[in-house]
Chain length 155, copies 8
Amino acid sequence: MSNWRVYLSGEIHSDWREQIESGTKDAKLPVDFFAPVTDHGSSDDCGVAILGDEENSFWKDRKGASVNAIRTRTLIERADIVIVRFGDQYKQWNAAFDAGYAAALGKPIIIMHGPDHAHALKEVDAAAQAVAETPEQIVAVLRYVIDGELKPVAN
Amino acid sequence: MSNWRVYLSGEIHSDWREQIESGTKDAKLPVDFFAPVTDHGSSDDCGVAILGDEENSFWKDRKGASVNAIRTRTLIERADIVIVRFGDQYKQWNAAFDAGYAAALGKPIIIMHGPDHAHALKEVDAAAQAVAETPEQIVAVLRYVIDGELKPVAN
Amino acid sequence: MSNWRVYLSGEIHSDWREQIESGTKDAKLPVDFFAPVTDHGSSDDCGVAILGDEENSFWKDRKGASVNAIRTRTLIERADIVIVRFGDQYKQWNAAFDAGYAAALGKPIIIMHGPDHAHALKEVDAAAQAVAETPEQIVAVLRYVIDGELKPVAN
Amino acid sequence: MSNWRVYLSGEIHSDWREQIESGTKDAKLPVDFFAPVTDHGSSDDCGVAILGDEENSFWKDRKGASVNAIRTRTLIERADIVIVRFGDQYKQWNAAFDAGYAAALGKPIIIMHGPDHAHALKEVDAAAQAVAETPEQIVAVLRYVIDGELKPVAN
Amino acid sequence: MSNWRVYLSGEIHSDWREQIESGTKDAKLPVDFFAPVTDHGSSDDCGVAILGDEENSFWKDRKGASVNAIRTRTLIERADIVIVRFGDQYKQWNAAFDAGYAAALGKPIIIMHGPDHAHALKEVDAAAQAVAETPEQIVAVLRYVIDGELKPVAN
Amino acid sequence: MSNWRVYLSGEIHSDWREQIESGTKDAKLPVDFFAPVTDHGSSDDCGVAILGDEENSFWKDRKGASVNAIRTRTLIERADIVIVRFGDQYKQWNAAFDAGYAAALGKPIIIMHGPDHAHALKEVDAAAQAVAETPEQIVAVLRYVIDGELKPVAN
Amino acid sequence: MSNWRVYLSGEIHSDWREQIESGTKDAKLPVDFFAPVTDHGSSDDCGVAILGDEENSFWKDRKGASVNAIRTRTLIERADIVIVRFGDQYKQWNAAFDAGYAAALGKPIIIMHGPDHAHALKEVDAAAQAVAETPEQIVAVLRYVIDGELKPVAN
Amino acid sequence: MSNWRVYLSGEIHSDWREQIESGTKDAKLPVDFFAPVTDHGSSDDCGVAILGDEENSFWKDRKGASVNAIRTRTLIERADIVIVRFGDQYKQWNAAFDAGYAAALGKPIIIMHGPDHAHALKEVDAAAQAVAETPEQIVAVLRYVIDGELKPVAN
């Protein structure tokens, strides 16, 4: 079977993706990871930098968000599992949007967030198959789901 | 043709739904409106009040969010148009989730928010067919789309 | 909006359906209920009684189960909510089958069973939006989901 | 063409999977087999061992069943053929659930069970394309379906 | 619930449809019946009579078959149950085509034919939920499936 | 059965829709007709008139086209039959777009155009079930498809 | 891009498949061909030879047709193009069934038959993208469609 | 992950495809490009050259367009991204048709056209994620979307 495809959606201000990819690599799991473009400047400017400048910030954002959607939509559709991380800051409405999108497509979903967000994320969590706090837990879930090997995580 | 079905998702702390429904009624549009349960207490307690108490707030929220999902999922699936409002406060991740869910189902979407949220909502806006600030604008869009009558809105 | 369509799948050896329908009627909820044929003899004989006798019980059962499937498949496809009851006796594999079928179709599901079956039904429960023990709880969920009115149930 | 993908759902208390995989390998069929996690302890504990302990056995089961669903749902969706085995013991509602899930997805299904269960499994059997009793029969079906070679089985 | 919609596909050289509709009416079943155009001349000429003459019989037939497809495709898609009759004469490839079309859409299917065609129709029968010989049997199946009332048929 | 829903897409510079609706009404056919907004000024201005002015004509057009899409997308999705008219003038790329959209949804399609466009419309025509030149022919097709009555048209 | 997958459905009494495969191989086209089991005896006996004897020929045929469906259903679903051949003899209802099945799935279809069957196959032909008489024509269509190279066929 | 599949639909009278493929190759992007047959004579004659001559140009075009559809339909369905170019001349209704077809399938779309066509293409542009004028811009979008590297384009 071809590798499992895992899409990592959410905040781009910490190294949570690298931690998961690294742990998964150490566990030698057959996984290909995908993510949105994580360079904040590129993500904001991709529309106008390529397709022409816009004076109005609304349309600048529209151009960029639409170009980004070409990438994220394709990768979510191809994913076997979608993981969405909510960090402590920022509105992260695009992350919650991705979670809803994936849920409607029937993708298995893992949500990653700290305990402070539990109540605000109750609807999103309820649509997911697992709620985790740390990259270590997520790697353990992937190892169990993909390899069938259960390595407990100290909590 | 049967009435147009419009689902109103989003914050439950202002009377924005009533304004839209009222304006639509005045315009005599053939529309049926649907919404999540807007009583905050009921929405939070519906799980434990019916299915049994939970000491752990995470599971109390899980029970309630799942029961609420029975309602919202059915109504979004039945809707012809989904409108999602983002107010000034609150995380509103469930609203962004609904927008993503509706987008994946190919539903036409109208997002309603003030100018301050434009940048944070760029991905959500890009997936919608219209972005409005006021109930008046939304009623005008519905009137145009449903009746074909264009009544400009002073902006 | 037309009535909510609720399909009641599961054991046909108690009056649990009548209790739910009665409670829903008292609550004046706009619901149409559907169910498989609940007359045990008819359900077993429908194939051979109409389409010709079979000496072999396997083919007698095959004929009947296929005719029953015409009814159940149509009604589950049309349903807005699927409720599946597991009683204390009997294998009830057809009920679990219905739950899986409804889950794949993305239907909201309520599972009804007593506490003794919790562990054996963990996978089925995990695919549902609510797990209830009594008809009273189910009526309360329907009332909340359909009318938005929360009437707590003493547990 | 890439290998045929066959998902083996059902009881994890006998070596029926190994028998089928072994026979298929001897027949040199281009098949990849998939299954749920078959270690009973891991399957029950995967939720709490990774995501945190739960005092309440209902929520312990919920956590585990949801994690297991990430695996089973992906593998059933990818499968070309789904085989579901019902052994002599245990409720096996998760197996019947899988059969219904696969049926709704339009997957070809083979049910494996002994003659005692025929009447109780009539609805599940009716949704399948073949009903077999032994691993030998199943290997013969796979050989015929995949390679076009018919090797009769003594019955 | 709205009436059950039943599509009657197949030979247009006998009154088998009228027999079924009449029996269903006597049984007071809530059924709406649909069928292709049964006037043989109209069915053959509809293309050229409306859209212009064709010298070449292949294109005359193409024009007509395409116009007929507007009707049959819509009605099969709307149907709850599809019934396909194979009479003793004629190639009836369009009937078998309809059966395959309905099967791919997941529609419940009843095939009606005499015993002589059993072997030639084995694949079509295997995709259906019931195989009947007479209109009386079909009315009995509809009565059972729709009303839950089993009236045996003497065979 | 509820009325047939027919969507009339295409040029808004002649009275072709009125001719079809009038002929269909005379024939007393059970049809509900739908169309995009046909007032050219409203169609162009609906975005900026409601949601705020745009200096840039590209974004003015974008706002308007997106609002119009709320209407056309819903109505095409609800339609049983989609009719697309290509007049002698104008680019009419939105009409060809509608035809492709409807074809992907599997809707039965009738294309209406004069003989001069035949070669340029060969791909669009090939995806349709009928190609007509006049409203009279279209009414005749609807009458035949819906009522089963064939009234030849002099050509 | 992986090879084009072409399914060859229809009569198993001539070497038409071998002719197409041979011509395609000579043209060095990147195609994988699939077909039902073409050994007539195996195709008829596969059910009872593996799953147990049946005295009744109807059930013998049912067992076999269902096992064959595991193969044909999977291969049609995977196919990029479905080719259906109608020979001069035999009822070939399973071939017409396959054509309808493929049409509902939106597969591109090529029908192969002699001129005598044109009128009887008008509905099936109308649902296809090409109608051919000889293997040579079919190889030419595949060469054009896959490689973009047009090699005319003398007709 | 396998290469991204990009379908290039539209005018076949300039070398715009070669420019995009060349730029993408220089950027070493993992992309497979697909297109309709771009030899104008072959595209027009493929039907009659293979399947037999037609005196009537309408049927000659029908035969050819249907054969071409086998190729284009398969390739659009397989594509991750669909790019549609509108040149300065020609009706290009088949290009707009492809855009609508891709939109209904939920494919990400890039439209390429000069500024003169902006108003006439407003509906098609509104359904796309990016509107570009030059091959250079398109290569830059692909580089950003696939590799995450933003290389601005001078505009």
